[in-house]
Homo-oligomer: 212 residues x 2
DNA sequence: ATTATCTATAGATCTATAGATAATGC
DNA sequence: ATTATCTATAGATCTATAGATAATGC
């Protein structure tokens, strides 16, 4: 798990902000692996501190509760997905081909990030309400990127049949069909490669978008 | 949670099979409510036995471990969804309207069963491997019902563009777009009613199916 | 006598913190 | 002197079972 985590609203006794950021990244990076392997509840704070390379006492200098660690993890995953998708979008051209490119790259991101996306689906509910809300907002922000792409294409007149509400729903569909690869991989993996999946779904999504 | 649970592969010391079935149904019905409210891990076996109306000692006469309870719950949910969908299908007519009807009724089932479907997404991974597999097979069987509908329509020549593989993928898409209502309800609920959602998604799904 | 149920608790965790120690900078 | 880290453990659970009791049928 990559990417810096900005100063979060998690209290700490440690004075050095850089150290806080570095240690929290260590915590998130270690925890995410453990959570993927054994789930949030079956992973102990001790295992996390050990994997991160310091003591349980030190761990609690950087977080206030075990849930905080889950939030660090969810946030770092979303930051990474968003970074990757934004990146793709900036490289994408115009017209309907842009949509094809973005779908393709997004689905590849979903494939690479499978375990992480699955984790968010499974463990979001274990977060305290306020952070649950943030995780859902992050999800929405990623869907927002697809709304942007679709709106941009629609503005040039290439998707004449799509009003704003339909664009929004189509964007959600793209997000979730990407996730579908992650949570039905146990089935699809037997029949398709990710490339097959992309090809077929792209055709579906395009006919969805080009005809009401 | 309704519907009989057949004799499962869960060992018991109790001789009377009817009693076993009845008690297990009580257990599943009580547990599902608790799991939805507080999650599997935060619900204690004591709370479950209490909600079911007997002691913790008795509880363990009908199951061997806490995971067994989760399996009872997942299974009863799938049984119910499958019953409802099968029901709808038997009433559905022919041609493309049949698809419209089935989608509509399925999405309504997803709406009513939201909490239960969400629970399965979140807690399946807490099951022992062998039962996890069964839950996934159940999921596949429900998708299979949509494959059937689509194949039936395709056989009459009404969906000429769909080969078998596309039918399969379209069926998965229908399943998951139903689930999407459940796990993005926190967002959609603000903007659409379930009827709006059905209408818009049906249009998308139809254009997906009627043109490659 | 057999079957079902209950009470009481063994045994095993696990989170979070208090208080002690080591490292760093003035 | 201040900041960061560590060790040791309090305190709170929670699952699963052993052994005792009640209910049922011969």
């Amino acid at each position: 798990m990559p990417e810096a985590s900005r100063t979060k609203d998690i209290p700490t006794q440690i004075k050095n902000p850089d150290l806080v950021e570095r240690r929290r990244r260590q915590i998130a990076d270690s925890a995410v692996q453990l959570f993927i392997r054994r789930g949030f509840h079956k992973t102990t704070t001790r295992q996390i501190s050990q994997a991160a390379g310091f003591s349980i006492g030190s761990l609690y200098e950087y977080i206030a509760s075990k849930e905080d660690i889950l939030y660090l993890v969810c946030d770092s995953i979303h930051t990474e997905v968003e970074r990757l998708v934004t990146d793709v979008m900036s490289r994408a051209g115009g017209g309907v081909e842009a949509l094809t490119e973005v779908i393709r790259e997004y689905f590849l991101v979903c494939d690479r990030m499978s375990d992480f996306i699955l984790l968010i689906y499974q463990e979001t509910r274990s977060l305290p309400a306020q952070w649950q809300k943030r995780v859902l907002e992050n999800e929405l922000r990623i869907t927002g990127l697809f709304i942007e792409v679709l709106a941009r294409i629609a503005a040039t007149g290439d998707l004449p049949d799509l009003d704003d509400e339909s664009i929004e729903l189509a964007a959600h569909n793209i997000s979730v069909l990407g996730h579908m690869w992650t949570f039905r991989r146990w089935f699809f993996g037997r029949h398709y490669t990710i490339e097959d999946y992309i090809e077929k779904q792209t055709r579906f999504i395009l006919s969805m978008c080009t005809r009401k």
